[in-house]
């Protein structure tokens, strides 16, 4: 929101010597952020008014003109390309030393006396955009035509245009709770309180009623419209506004339309109260009956933005007879506003329910300066001030204007806000400060609060302009004192707490260990990926879309689904990285979303949120590696070791649709499935665009966190030596090593360890078979084993392998 310093100073005289920067800081530190401020005159520094005396063609350029320009006391030759140049024209001249933006673009540059195609040019005749002015009325090759401006050549342009203002840009979103600051008078009131300056009373003259138009207003629902004021004026001539008014609006970013509309806008920018002006003759002429009612089914209105809106039944409209005049508080209708022929007007100054205006403007996707103010809860007292000010201004701009109706004021019963009572000690308790009662009282009084101190209790009456929503409880008053006293003046202290070890979150701990193990042990990189996934990716993997939660309003319509596994997006990320990296090894630890499972409570009601377990997933692909399963399994083993779990892999009977049917396994801890490790079905991987074989793993950390860690069982270190034996044998390809090892272990209780050290397929081994070699170590706790004992054990093992697995011994 833009605030004009000149305008502000009509209501408050800030202390002498307070710079714009200081004022800006004060407002920022105590009220609301001033994003920037702009000194109009500084932007037009050195730019002056010039008068074109004579024009001549440039001898060496078709589109350039040699202009002799009176720049006040002397004549300068300026080469100019403006297509609208004429003799006697008043123009904006940037002499050498002034700063301009070439063609309105880029950073400002300093002008120098120069030669253009051989002709001397002492400065530049400027287009509006080149000196930061509104260029909307100018043609592409036009220069700024100052018209019949009453200023002698040589006058500073800023002075000539009345552009000697400083404009403060207030951060708009932060005003959500301060509708009172959405106008210059409110801002002036705040500045007066901040700088201990005097605030000028705002009192436009009361309106004396007139005759000619019988005006009446009927409010059907006073909850939606707590107050509606109106008055009719006649003798209006609709015409352009005077320059000062245009300047004021432009300074605040509002376009000048005509004197009547400009008056309503000026009042809005001054008081924060939106107004509207109707053409009285469109509304019924001598008898105007206004109804404030909710819309009828199927009702439509074409607004000032030339769009037609379909209204719903809870939306509030202003109507007259059968005509729908406006969407209350949002925007006026096309046909009922002020036009060139208008001579009689009705001013509307009303108060509408913030909730209603907000809902309506949201549903219609129609925001306006008016709706933005109403939805923040406006003080109903503003209606009257605004109406008076509008009438006063209208008569000032158009002396023939005359009130021609009585002043209508329909309003709901006024509910006075209750005074707040609290002990002054509350303030220092909450702030940890030592502000004196006197100072508190002083601050509140400056802000317009009525404060009484009696028996150590404050009784605080909230001013009407703060009572609409912002200040309603004692904590709100504490904030008022704190911000004016200054947060910088409140000391920093540290609270004292008993020593209590914080509750630990096992999932978080596991995820932390996993990240370190995967990154610094397995050499994988942690990636962050969106929670959203595309239907194409899911379908390519054979996933059912119905299993996935879907956003109602996705930002990118190509990714509307919430992930229920981290794998699909990880595979997409492999595709993005495989061009740059031969080896892609990544992991992610994040929540996933399960549509069909119940999770956390929703805080109220019995329904539950969808379950969102913490998943941990990894992916590996390497150019030329056709068995990526092993690396993926190695990652899982490293991970499990780091987290302290004993895990085993079991091929799943029902693998996921995208998994390689025979290169997949469940990860099992304590007989509980906690995840899987698998190669991706090569066809599906390549459908996604993955160039190489790719393997993944994924675990549910919530389930894993419930599992006991592998307990360490200590055995005394044996003093007796171990006997080592190797055994090589051939078995069918499908024989699972895990089962073989378990069998071997069960067969001999002298076996200390067994370790697979070679698997071979090929020459010398029958097709469909593999040769395996294990290294075994035998040991007894109480004696050194005899060679014959060990050989007997080995014989037993051979026998079992032959019997259970049809093994053929190779050694």
């Amino acid at each position: 929101m833009l605030i004009s310093k000149k305008w502000l100073r009509e209501f408050v005289q800030t202390p002498k010597g307070l710079s714009d920067q200081e004022l800006s800081n004060t407002i920022t530190l105590s009220t609301v952020e001033v994003e920037s401020f702009k000194d109009q005159a500084a932007e037009l520094d050195k730019i002056i008014v010039g008068e074109v005396k004579t024009l001549a063609k440039h001898p060496d350029a078709d589109r350039l003109t040699l202009c002799q320009v009176d720049v006040g006391g002397s004549t300068s030759q300026i080469v100019c390309g403006g297509s609208n140049l004429r003799e006697g024209m008043k123009v904006a001249v940037a002499p050498p030393g002034a700063w301009v933006r070439w063609h309105g673009e880029g950073e400002p540059v300093e002008l120098k006396k120069t030669k253009i195609r051989g002709e001397v040019s002492e400065g530049m005749i400027c287009a509006s955009s080149e000196i930061g002015l509104d260029a909307s009325d100018e043609g592409e090759r036009d220069i700024l035509d100052l018209g019949d401006i009453d200023a002698k050549p040589g006058t500073s342009l800023a002075e000539a245009l009345g552009l000697d203002d400083v404009i403060f840009d207030i951060e708009h979103k932060s005003l959500t709770n301060r509708p009172d600051l959405m106008g210059h008078y409110g801002m002036a009131r705040e500045v007066a309180a901040l700088t201990r300056s005097e605030l000028k009373e705002y009192k436009p003259a009361a309106i004396s009623k007139g005759k000619g138009v019988s005006l009446s207003v009927k409010i059907e629902d006073q909850e939606l419209c707590p107050r509606y004021m109106g008055v009719a004026l006649e003798g209006i001539t609709v015409e352009p506004s005077p320059q000062w008014l245009k300047n004021r609006l432009t300074a605040c970013g509002v376009r000048s339309i005509n004197n009547v509309v400009d008056v309503t806008n000026l009042v809005m920018l001054e008081l924060g109260q939106p107004m509207h002006a109707f053409d009285a003759d469109v509304l019924g002429g001598d008898e105007v009956k206004i109804t404030v009612r909710t819309a009828k089914k199927g009702e439509e209105i074409t607004c000032l933005d030339e769009e037609t809106y379909k209204l719903e039944k809870e939306m509030l409209v202003i109507a007259s007879g059968t005509k729908t005049l406006a969407i209350a508080g949002v925007m006026g209708g096309e046909g009922s506003g002020v036009s060139g022929e208008t001579t009689r007007i009705v001013f509307e100054s009303a108060n509408f329910s913030p909730v209603s205006v907000r809902k309506t403007s949201q549903k219609l996707a129609l925001r306006s300066e008016s709706s933005a103010r109403f939805e923040k809860s406006l003080d109903a007292n503003l209606c009257e001030l605004a109406l008076r000010r509008a009438v006063e201004l209208m008569q000032e701009l158009c002396p023939s204007a005359k009130v021609c109706s009585s002043v209508i004021d329909e309003r709901a019963k006024v509910v006075e806000s209750e005074a707040l009572s609290f002990a002054p000690s509350l303030v220092n308790d909450r702030l940890g400060s030592s502000i004196s009662t006197d100072e508190m009282q002083d601050i509140l009084t400056r802000l317009g609060f009525d404060v009484k101190l009696k028996k150590d209790v404050f009784t605080v009456v909230i001013p009407s302009w703060r009572a609409t929503k912002d200040v309603s409880i004692k904590e709100d008053v504490v904030e008022e004192i704190a911000r004016i006293y200054g947060y910088d003046n409140i000391p920093s202290t540290l609270p004292i707490f008993p020593i209590t070890p914080p509750v630990q979150d096992r999932v978080r701990q596991l995820s932390r260990i996993a990240r370190r193990a995967l990154a610094y042990g397995a050499g994988a990189s942690e990636v962050f990926q969106y929670a959203f996934v595309s239907p194409e990716t899911l379908e390519a993997l054979g996933e059912s879309l119905d299993d996935h939660l879907k956003l109602a309003n996705p930002l990118a319509s190509d990714r509307p689904y919430l992930v229920r596994s981290l794998i699909p997006n990880l595979l997409e990320t492999v595709v993005h990285n495989q061009r740059t990296f031969e080896t892609v090894k990544m992991f992610q630890s994040e929540r996933v979303f399960r549509k069909d499972e119940e999770g956390a409570d929703m805080g109220e009601g019995k329904k539950k949120l969808p379950r969102q377990p913490h998943a941990l997933a990894g992916v590996y692909a390497k150019k030329g590696d056709v068995d990526p399963f092993w690396e993926s399994k190695a990652m899982v083993e490293q991970l499990m070791g780091a987290m302290g779990f004993a895990a085993e892999l079991r091929p799943s009977e029902a693998p996921e649709p995208w998994q390689h049917p025979v290169r997949q396994a469940q990860i099992v801890v304590n007989d509980q499935v906690v995840g899987y490790v698998a190669e991706v079905d090569p066809e599906k991987a390549s459908a996604l665009g993955v160039d190489h074989r790719v393997a993944v793993f994924e675990m549910n950390l919530d389930v894993l966190a419930q599992q006991g860690e592998q307990a360490v069982v200590y055995k005394p270190v044996s003093v007796h030596p171990a006997a080592e034996r190797d055994l090589a044998f051939v078995v069918a390809d499908q024989a699972a090593y895990a089962v073989i090892e378990t069998t071997i272990r069960k067969t001999s209780n002298l076996l200390d360890s067994v370790e697979l050290f070679d698997v071979y397929r090929g020459k010398g081994v029958e097709e469909g078979h593999k040769s395996m070699a294990v290294h075994m170590s035998f040991r007894a706790a109480d004696r050194t084993l005899e060679s014959s004992e060990v050989d007997a054990e080995l014989g037993k093992i051979r026998g079992v392998l032959e019997k259970d697995f049809g093994a053929t011994m190779r050694s």
Binding site: K173, S174, D488, I490, G523, E526, V527, V584, F593, G599
Partner: protein, 342 residues
């Protein structure tokens, strides 16, 4: 005789220095000291001498033998050393050569790193690390935080909704964990809740619909805004060094009263004003305030008995400031060229 022996010594000493390899050294030694060597031969002559004289000559012979042995030993040592140098030299390897086929180090996401650093700081001060769902109820995300459905503050955060799931939103801030934590742990409470948040905003260099925050909350009897300043100052100094100060200025958040925006001394210019801080000397990094009584009530905490403060850091912003990351989109991109740098 004596003279012969002395001569023998001198001969050896002269020859030993000229020997160039170990083999010749051994031959030379045998020539002098071997069983058929010159010394043995000279000793044979000794037998014919008278007792007295034989003793004297024997002593000299021993001295000569010893001298030859020492000279031999010295030379042998030299050769051993040379030989070792030669053979070790052949074992030279290029120690600067990378381990071929060795596992390269992976990386942990910068947001995770900064988050864990802060988690450690807060747990060291007795804070619980709390967690909450990302797909959250409207109640926890808005209503319970004093943001009723009609409140304009909802406009401050564009929200993702889920089809067919009434009252469910993608959480727009980690503040949703406030009520959950109060209900779960009660008062007094010290907690932080880092996590992922979502806002329905178009993505560009400075905006991401998915980003990370770290929420914090402290509730007890007598907790004041002064305590909030103290705790947040610790955080700021932990992040940016001992000289860092914080500055609070009013900012409206419906769930706190008073509500503030928190700025820290710009770490780049130390407060002098630079491009990073837009010439202000301050960087805005958190929002905070005293917990609104309505919020305490929703959390089951009596606002007449307890008070507290809450704060929220933009983790994503902290990370971008820390590393000078120019484009927020890198963080969620999964681009290894970006990630492997951390």
């Amino acid at each position: 005789m004596k003279k012969d022996l002395e001569q023998l010594k001198d001969d050896f000493l002269a020859l030993v220095d000229k020997v160039t390899d170990r083999e010749s050294l051994e031959t030379l030694r045998n020539e002098f000291l071997g069983r058929k060597g010159k010394l043995k031969a000279a000793m044979k002559e000794m037998a014919q001498l008278a007792d007295e004289e034989r003793k004297a000559i024997g002593k000299i012979a021993n001295e000569v033998k010893e001298a030859i042995e020492v000279a031999y030993g010295g030379q042998e040592e030299t050769f051993k050393k040379l030989q070792r140098e030669e053979s070790m030299g052949k074992e030279w390897i290029d120690v600067t050569q990378p381990v071929i086929g060795g596992e390269s180090r992976g990386s942990i996401h910068p947001v995770t790193q900064v988050q864990q650093e802060l988690e450690d700081l807060f747990t060291s001060m007795g804070f619980i690390i709390a967690d909450g769902p990302e797909l959250e109820s409207d109640y926890y995300n808005f209503t319970a935080l004093n943001i009723p459905p009609t409140h304009p503050a909802r406009d401050m955060q564009d929200t993702f909704y889920v089809e067919g799931a009434d009252g469910v939103v993608m959480r727009t801030h980690t503040s949703s964990v406030q009520i959950r934590s109060m209900r779960r742990y009660g008062a007094p409470l010290r907690m932080v809740a880092p996590g992922r948040c979502f806002r329905n905003e178009a993505t560009d260099v400075r905006h991401e619909h998915t980003f990370h925050q770290l929420e914090g909350m402290m509730i007890d009897k007598g907790i004041s805004l002064s305590h909030m300043k103290g705790v947040l100052e610790i955080v700021a100094r932990h992040l940016y060094g001992e000289e860092t100060h914080i500055r609070l200025r009013p900012k409206f958040y419906p769930f706190v009263e008073p509500g503030v925006n928190g700025e820290v001394t710009c770490f780049l210019c130390k407060g002098d004003g630079c491009r990073l801080c837009k010439k202000t000397g301050w960087l805005e990094v958190f929002g905070a305030g005293m917990v609104h009584p309505n919020v305490l009530r929703e959390g089951g905490v009596d606002p007449d008995e307890y008070s507290g403060f809450a704060f929220g850091f933009g983790l994503t912003r902290l990370v971008m400031l820390k590393y000078g990351i120019d484009d927020i989109r890198h963080l969620e991109s999964g681009d290894l060229r970006f990630l492997k740098q951390f």
